[in-house]
C-alpha cells in the first residue's frame, strides 16, 4: 500500500481501482454509522448530552492551564509521576528513558493514537526496543507494517482473508484461513504470552480527571488492563486536551463515546486508573505537540474538543470511498483533516479539500465540533499561505475577474455554450476530469437572461 506517499486525490484514485472493495468498505462503515444512529435514538436526551459535552469541552479549552495544573497536583499526590512533553520527540525520548530505566528492551502497548501521531513505534524500534501493539486491529496492521486506517477500527480496510494471510505469515496459522474465531484465538494466544512477559506497558488515555488526578482508558478487548495490571511499569500517554474537570463529567462522555463510535452503549471496559498498585510505577506523559498552537487559533481551537470516537469518519462519504490511508496522517477523516494542517501545513494542504463540505461530520460529532466550517476555513488559510497547487491561484484570479463582471460573464457564458454546442470535443475529452465518468450538460441556445429579456413583457 503506497497510498501514504500520494496526495489525497491520487490515493483515492488508487483506492477506487477496485470498485467492489470500495463498495464493501463503504457499506461496512455505513453499517457502523447506522448502529450509531440506533444507539443514539434510544436516548431521548441525546442532543442535550451532546450540548453538555460540548459546553464541558468549551470550559476545558478556556481553562486548560488551570485544569492541567490541578491534574498534575492530584496525580502526583496519588503517586503517579507526571512528565510534560512539548513535542513528539520529547514524548518519545521520555518513554524511551522510562523503558531503559526499567532495564528492559520490550514493551506492550494498547491503543493510543497519540503514539501514532508521535511515531513512537518507529522511534523505539530504531533504538532497539521491541513494541507489540495489543489491540487486535493494531496488531494486524503492525504485522503488515501499515499504519491504522481508522482511529477506532485500525484494520477496517482489511478483509478476513487479508488477516488470514497476515496471520499465516506471522503467527503460523493455516494458509487460507478466514474463520474469525480461529484467527482471533491465534492472536489471543500470541498476545497472552506477550502480556505475561512484558515488564513495561503503555496505554493511551481517553479522559484525565483534574479533580481526582486519575484517568480512564476505554477498550473493548481489555488489552489495556491486561498490559497495565501485569506490568511493573505503566506508562500512560495523553494529549493535553484529554483533560476533563470532574469525575461526574464521565457520566456525559462515557455515554457519548461508544454510542458515537460503534453504537455500543458503553465500551466493554472503562478502566479507571488512579494510583500505582504497591510495587508498581505509574507514569503519565502529557503532550503538547502543536496543541498549544491550535488552542491559539480562534477558528480551529474547537478541534481540540475531539474525544476520538470516529463518528465523523464513519459518516464521511469521502472517507468511506477513499480509505483511511489516503489521508496520509495518523488521524484520517474529517477530524484528521482539520488537525493535520496544524502539524504541517505544506504536507497536509490537500486534506481540507478532501471533502464536499456536506456537513454530516459536524452534526454527528458528539462534542459539536464545527468540522466542515473548519475545513472551509483551513482552505482559506492554506491558499493565502501559498500552499495551493501550481497554477491554481492564477486560474482562480481569472475566474474571479470573469464572474465579477456582468459583461465578461455573459461573453464567457455565450462562448462556453457555443463551444459545447458546436465543438463538444473541446470539452468531451480525456483531459476533462468531469467527462471521465460523466456526460456534459446539454448547452441551451439562449441563457435565462436572454429568454427573460425576450419574454418579460409577454
Amino acid at each position: 500500500m503506497n497510498q501514504l506517499n500520494l496526495d489525497h486525490a491520487s490515493a483515492a484514485v488508487a483506492f477506487n481501482k477496485d470498485e467492489p472493495r470500495v463498495d464493501w468498505h463503504d457499506e461496512t462503515l455505513w453499517f457502523v454509522r447506522t448502529k450509531r444512529d440506533r444507539a443514539a435514538a434510544q436516548l431521548p436526551e441525546w442532543e442535550q448530552l451532546r450540548e453538555a459535552a460540548s459546553q464541558i469541552k468549551n470550559h476545558v479549552l478556556s481553562n486548560m492551564h488551570d485544569l492541567l495544573a490541578q491534574f498534575e497536583e492530584n496525580a502526583k499526590r496519588n503517586g503517579i509521576t507526571v512528565h510534560w512533553a512539548e513535542n513528539a520527540d520529547e514524548h518519545n525520548a521520555i518513554i524511551h528513558k522510562l523503558i531503559q530505566d526499567a532495564g528492559v528492551t520490550r514493551m506492550v502497548k494498547s491503543k493510543s493514537m497519540l503514539t501514532e501521531e508521535c511515531h513512537l513505534n518507529d522511534y523505539l524500534t530504531r533504538h532497539g526496543i521491541e513494541v507489540i501493539d495489543s489491540d487486535l486491529g493494531e496488531r494486524i496492521v503492525q504485522m503488515r507494517k501499515e499504519p491504522p486506517s481508522h482511529i477506532v477500527l485500525p484494520a477496517i480496510h482489511l478483509k478476513k482473508s487479508d488477516v488470514g494471510e497476515t496471520f499465516h505469515e506471522h503467527l503460523g496459522t493455516e494458509k487460507g484461513a478466514t474463520d474469525p474465531q480461529y484467527l482471533t484465538e491465534a492472536a489471543r494466544q500470541h498476545l497472552r504470552d506477550t502480556f505475561l512477559t512484558r515488564k513495561v506497558a503503555l496505554t493511551g488515555v481517553n479522559f484525565a480527571i483534574a479533580e481526582t488526578g486519575g484517568f480512564v482508558v476505554c477498550t473493548n478487548e481489555g488489552n489495556a488492563d491486561m498490559g497495565a495490571h501485569l506490568a511493573d511499569v505503566h506508562i500512560a500517554a495523553m494529549g493535553f486536551e484529554k483533560i476533563i474537570p470532574r469525575a461526574e463529567h464521565l457520566g456525559v462522555f462515557l455515554r457519548l463515546l461508544a454510542r458515537s463510535a460503534t453504537g455500543q452503549p458503553i465500551t466493554t471496559f472503562s478502566s479507571h486508573f488512579h494510583r500505582p498498585r504497591p510495587g508498581q510505577e505509574m507514569h503519565i506523559v502529557i503532550v503538547d505537540n502543536g496543541r498549544s498552537r491550535q488552542l491559539g487559533r480562534p477558528d480551529f481551537r474547537n478541534s481540540l474538543k475531539c474525544i476520538r470516537c470516529a463518528a465523523c469518519l464513519n459518516t464521511c462519504p469521502v472517507y468511506r470511498r477513499s480509505g483511511g490511508h489516503s489521508y496520509h496522517s495518523a488521524i484520517a477523516g474529517p477530524i484528521g483533516s482539520i488537525l493535520a494542517p496544524n502539524l504541517d501545513m505544506k504536507l497536509n494542504a490537500d486534506l481540507p479539500f478532501a471533502s464536499t463540505l456536506c456537513g454530516s461530520c459536524s452534526n454527528v460529532c458528539p462534542v459539536k465540533i464545527d468540522i466542515h466550517d473548519q475545513l472551509y476555513k483551513w482552505r482559506q488559510v492554506l491558499m493565502k499561505e501559498g500552499y495551493g497547487p501550481g497554477g491554481k491561484t492564477a486560474a482562480m484570479k481569472a475566474m474571479a475577474t470573469v464572474l465579477e463582471s456582468p459583461s465578461l460573464y455573459r461573453m464567457a457564458g455565450k462562448i462556453g455554450r457555443g463551444v459545447l454546442r458546436f465543438t463538444p470535443v473541446l470539452a468531451e475529452n480525456r483531459f476533462n476530469p468531469w467527462y471521465n465518468q460523466r456526460e456534459m450538460p446539454e448547452p441551451p441556445a439562449e441563457s435565462f437572461r436572454d429568454w427573460y429579456i425576450n419574454n418579460k413583457k409577454a
Partner: protein, 244 residues
C-alpha cells in the same frame, strides 16, 4: 411582495428552463418578481476553493443587483447558503440586510408564502435528492445525524403535487459528491459518490430524481446519461409547475 430573483450562473447558462420554472412558480403564488439583469455569480466557486479573498467583486455586484427587494429568492440551496454566510461588501448594512432576506425557493414557499396547495400534476415515481447545503446548511429538512423530529420542506411541497409518488431512499441524505470544484479535483471519489446515489434511486424504481440544487442534479444527470439510463433529473421548480 417584491421578490428579486437570483439565478445562479450555471443555471442561467445551462439550465434556463429551471429559472423559467422558478419565475413562473413564484408568479403563480402571487409574488411580484423582478430579475436584476446585471447579476452574475455568488462567488462560491472561488470561496470553496480557498479563495474567498477574491470574491469581493462578486459581492459588490451582488449587493448592487439585489438591494431594495423585500425578499431575494433563488432555486439553489448552495448559492443561497453562500450568500447567507459570506456576503460582505463596502455597504455592509445593505449586505447584512440581504443576508437576512435571501431564501432558497422551497423554504420561501413553505415559510414565507406558506403555500398550502399547488396546481401541479406529475404522475411519476420521484426520488428526492436532499442536497447538503440546503438540508444541513439551511435546514430545509431534518438531517439523519440529529435525533430530532423529521420534517422536509421540499417533500412537503412535492406532496402537494397530484399523482406524484415520492419514494423512500436507503440513505435519505447522503451527499452526491458534487462538491463544487471537488467534482474535478477529487474526480474518483466524486464520481463514485454520484454513482452510489444514483443506484439508491434506481433500486427504488424512480422515473425522476429531483432536488433543490441543480449543481447536484447536473452531476447525477451526467452519471445517468453515461449509463444510458432512462431516468431523468428535474429541479423541484419544474415539478411544482408541471401540468399534464
Amino acid at each position: 411582495m417584491k421578490v428579486g430573483l437570483f439565478i445562479p450562473c450555471y443555471i442561467d447558462q445551462f439550465y434556463p428552463k429551471v429559472a423559467i420554472a422558478t419565475l413562473k412558480l413564484l408568479q403563480n403564488v402571487g409574488c411580484e418578481v423582478d430579475y436584476p439583469l446585471q447579476q452574475t455569480c455568488c462567488g462560491q466557486p472561488m470561496a470553496n476553493s480557498g479563495y474567498e479573498h477574491l470574491t469581493g467583486g462578486c459581492n459588490e455586484n451582488f449587493v448592487r443587483n439585489f438591494s431594495g427587494y423585500d425578499y431575494i429568492v433563488s432555486p439553489s440551496g448552495s448559492c443561497t447558503l453562500h450568500i447567507k454566510h459570506h456576503l460582505h461588501a463596502s455597504n455592509e448594512s445593505e449586505a447584512s440586510s440581504i443576508r437576512s432576506r435571501i431564501y432558497e425557493l422551497t423554504e420561501f414557499l413553505t415559510d414565507v408564502v406558506k403555500v398550502s396547495s399547488l396546481k401541479a400534476t406529475f404522475p411519476y415515481r420521484v426520488g428526492l435528492h436532499q442536497s447538503c447545503h440546503g438540508q444541513r446548511g439551511l435546514h430545509l429538512a431534518q438531517m439523519s445525524e440529529l435525533m430530532a423530529p423529521p420534517f422536509s420542506k421540499p417533500a412537503q411541497l412535492l406532496n402537494l403535487v397530484d399523482g406524484l409518488d415520492l419514494v423512500q431512499l436507503d440513505r435519505r441524505d447522503e451527499c452526491c459528491g458534487f462538491g463544487g470544484t471537488f467534482c474535478v479535483t477529487e474526480e474518483a471519489v466524486s464520481a463514485k459518490m454520484g454513482k452510489d446515489r444514483v443506484a439508491d434511486h434506481l433500486r427504488h424504481g424512480v422515473n425522476y430524481i429531483t432536488g433543490v440544487d441543480v449543481s447536484c442534479l447536473m452531476h447525477l444527470e451526467g452519471i445517468l446519461k453515461r449509463a444510458n439510463s432512462a431516468v431523468q433529473v428535474k429541479h423541484i421548480a419544474e415539478i411544482l409547475t408541471a401540468t399534464v
